[in-house]
């Protein structure tokens, strides 16, 4: 049993090692994504700093600092969750683009192991990017984390990662079914989640029907909980109302996403869609 688990870990690590090697070879693109992440996060932070100028009213320093942190937590948490969703969602599209999809799917690696390996690689990448972006942003914008409860924030990020891994696996199946439009569909799902999850604003400002959507988005709970943890130092017991819904999404979406992926893989093998050229 232990030997079998070790064997599967070794197989999963193949994908982690491959992704690290690809990141080194595509280093220029990695820098592009990092710069893009820093610039967009900074742009959002400056909106917070500009609150008095934009509103035309008096806003005290503490309120501005809180507003900046509110926006930064949203943008960086979304960046973290977004990288997970995008990278896992692009598993098929990326292999097809490289021309390796047939080789990977012909190899004797259980699909669960394959996808877990890709998830592990994605988590490393998402974490590294998010920390780097936060580090760069703090060089330009004062960030007050004196009240932060880091443990609560880390737990929420982990729960959010679980939920987005499940959603990412499900969306990775789209390009198997629709070779050209599948990835575009995944991006639309991601955009809608961004809109309804209160990344830059409280969901209470949304129309009622969008607020309904926000209740089924795990990002709503993760980002709201992250704000409570990092801005107000909320501890885990008090964050339970934000943790459990995201946890439920993760616990449900990962097995459901896997089942969907395996079913769609079989459909692709029946219809001849599992091809490098799509």
């Amino acid at each position: 049993m232990i030997a079998q688990v070790n064997g599967q870990i070794g197989l999963a690590y193949a994908f982690v090692e491959r992704e690290i090697a690809l990141s080194k070879r595509y280093w220029a693109w990695e820098i592009v994504w990092l710069v893009y992440g820093v610039v967009t996060s900074l742009s959002v932070a400056y909106i917070g700093l500009a609150a008095p100028a934009i509103s035309g009213g008096q806003v005290d320093e503490a309120a501005i600092s809180r507003f900046v942190l509110y926006l930064l937590v949203g943008t960086i948490a979304w960046r973290f969750l977004g990288i997970i969703f995008e990278n896992i969602g692009e598993v098929i599209a990326w292999e097809r683009w490289e021309g390796t999809i047939e080789y990977t799917f012909m190899s004797p690696v259980p699909r669960l192991t394959h996808l877990l390996g890709m998830c592990a690689a994605t988590l490393v990448r998402a974490l590294a990017f998010s920390i780097a972006i936060l580090g760069c942003v703090t060089l330009f914008v004062p960030v007050d984390l004196s009240h932060a409860n880091v443990i609560s924030a880390v737990v929420l990020l982990a729960v959010g990662a679980l939920a987005f891994i499940g959603l990412g696996i499900a969306s990775a199946a789209f390009p198997l079914m629709w070779t050209e439009k599948g990835l575009q569909m995944a991006y639309i799902v991601q955009a809608i989640v961004l809109l309804v999850s209160g990344v830059y604003y409280p969901v209470s400002v949304l129309p009622a029907w969008m607020q309904v959507l926000s209740t089924i988005s795990p990002a709503t709970y993760v980002i709201r909980g992250m704000r409570s943890a990092l801005m107000d130092g909320a501890d885990l017991p008090s964050l339970w109302p934000e943790v459990w819904p995201a946890l439920v999404v993760g616990v449900l979406s990962i097995p459901l996403g896997l089942r969907l992926f395996v079913a769609v893989e079989r459909y692709a093998k029946k219809t001849g869609r599992l091809k490098r050229s799509g």
């Binding site: 064997g7 070794g10 197989l11 690590y13 193949a14 090692e17 491959r18 090697a21 690809l22 070879r25 595509y26 490289e98 021309g99 390796t100 999809i101 047939e102 080789y103 990977t104 799917f105 012909m106 190899s107 004797p108 690696v109 259980p110 079989r266 093998k269 029946k270 219809t271 001849g272 599992l274 091809k275 490098r276």
Partner: protein, 275 residues
Amino acid sequence: MAIEIATRPREPDVMTTRDALVATSVSKTFKTEKSPRRAVDGVSLRVRRGEIYGLLGANGSGKSTLIRMFSTLLIPDQGAVRVFDRDVQHDELAVKRLINRVSVEASFFKKLSAMENLVYAGRLYGVAPDDARTKAHEILRRLGIAEDRLNEPLEKLSRGMQQKIAIARAFLTAPMLLLLDEPTTGLDIRSKREVQTFVQDLRLEHDATIVLTTHDLDEAERLSDRVGIIHEGRLVAEGTSDELRARYGASALEEVFMTATGRRLEDADEPERAK
């Protein structure tokens, strides 16, 4: 010099099974915008262990569709495929452990080096990285690829070299059944000869069964113990080159092809139909 290919422990019945591949009444139809197209039509064939079986046919004749069904990438509409007595659908993972495939286009991460690609492939098949590196060095030296090129991104190597590395990658994983899907198409004459010689040598030195698809008559005759001619999705003739020539009263395989299919191979070689 013999190449030391890693041998992996196999189940006892794999080592004693006489037939490496058995396809029974296999058919596959694809839906197209105009009408359904039957790519493979009731093909039955048997490849014996240790044999090189050449599937000869024009572009679009169904060779690659058959190979994709043998390699678990495509599910037949009808019929069954067994690899070392394992069903490709119901025992997919076990079949995957026994096979490898080299396609007409080398499937690599082109930004990664030959060595990175080979170590990655080795990991997928349970070959330890150090072993993979050692074996890769041996195989690539045999194929005439200089050591200093092993760490260059693959996109900088010629197509011939990429194809040799693809074959090296397949042998690195010690497959019991190797599916070579037009491995020399598009290569220059020298590279083609080198790849053909490599395949012959490996077969002589190691316990591998090879199914080779080609639309090159010389290649089919030179490499194959038996040849199957596939035309419009059907296996229309099968046997050793000598048997086929005798059966069709022909002096060359080309004549056999013409008689069996009613067309010259060059004429039948129209652009490959969408699969």
